[in-house]
């Protein structure tokens, strides 16, 4: 059952990342990887909310597996993030490469904090 929850969540999260990246790329023709940035930050916000909800008893462990381990885990990615950073640096866009690392981590961590704080305000 636990495995089924993780697999179901991931089977939704991964295509969501792909489709987001696709639509972002269609709209913005910049070198900065906005698509991956967007899904990573959004995933951090959702997982922060969920972690807060679990802490305050508003979400079950099964929700944690479905939405947290499965959906958010597959929606966000470290492999694409680091590969894109490397390609930016190699193609001469060193500033964008550094900005990608710093802004993704700062925004992602910030989103995680905001998510837990919002959950606390609602469910604590």
């Amino acid at each position: 059952m636990n495995w089924a929850l993780v697999i179901t969540g991931a089977a939704l999260g991964a295509p969501m990342r792909y489709l987001t990246d696709l639509s972002v790329q269609k709209r913005h023709d910049t070198v900065f990887p906005w698509g991956t940035f967007a899904v990573n930050v959004a995933g951090c916000l959702i997982l922060g909310l969920l972690t807060g909800a679990v802490t305050y008893g508003a979400a079950a462990d099964s929700t944690q597996l479905l939405v947290g381990t499965g959906f958010c885990g597959a929606l966000t990615t470290y492999s694409t993030f680091s590969y894109e950073t490397m390609r930016l640096a190699e193609s001469g866009a060193k500033f964008f490469a550094a900005a990608n690392v710093v802004s993704s981590i700062v925004a992602g961590l910030g989103a995680a904090f905001i998510g837990v704080t919002v959950a606390q305000a609602i469910w604590a």
Binding site: N2, W3, V6, I7, T8, G9, A10, A11, L12, G13, A14, P15, R17, Y18, L19, D21, L22, Q25, K26, V31, P33, T36, N40, G43, C44, I46, L47, G48, T51, L65, G68, T69, G70, C72, G73, A74, T76, T77, Y78, S79, T80, F81, S82, Y83, E84, T85, M86, R87, L88, E90, S91, V101, I105, G108, L109, A111, A112, F113, G115, V116
Partner: protein, 161 residues
Amino acid sequence: MKPSHSPAVSEPTDPDVDRGIPARRPGAWRHQAPVVGVVALGGAVGAAARYGAVLWWPTAVGGFPWTTLVVNAAGCAVIGVFMVVISDVWAAHRLVRPFFGTGVLGGFTTFSTYTVDTRQLLDAGRARTGLAYLGLTPLVALTAVWSAAWMTRRIVTWRQT
């Protein structure tokens, strides 16, 4: 099979969206549907592997999240090899890259668990562990992808000469 330019040139910046797959022409959805399907399938496989790793090597509460760090580093090393091979060596079926690169590796690695675990450590008063994890993960991940891609390109170039 044999690109005349250096291997790195033909590798894309964004491994997730294959610009070779046209998205705007009529009937695009019919073209995209199989891609979305294999991304979902690959994502499920990758996430299940990550879940298995976490079950196998659980991290103690308040401890350094080694398992997630190793999972992310491994995924980064593999994408470094995979993108070079798929761009320069292997004329694979058009669904191979979305299945494995976007799906399996994207589902295996995680950014959200990285930041939320860091927050939990900082919140629990484990500032040193939290900051070490925060800094070490991107360092290890970027080193992994870069060295894996570098080594694979060396092998590709060596095989072509």
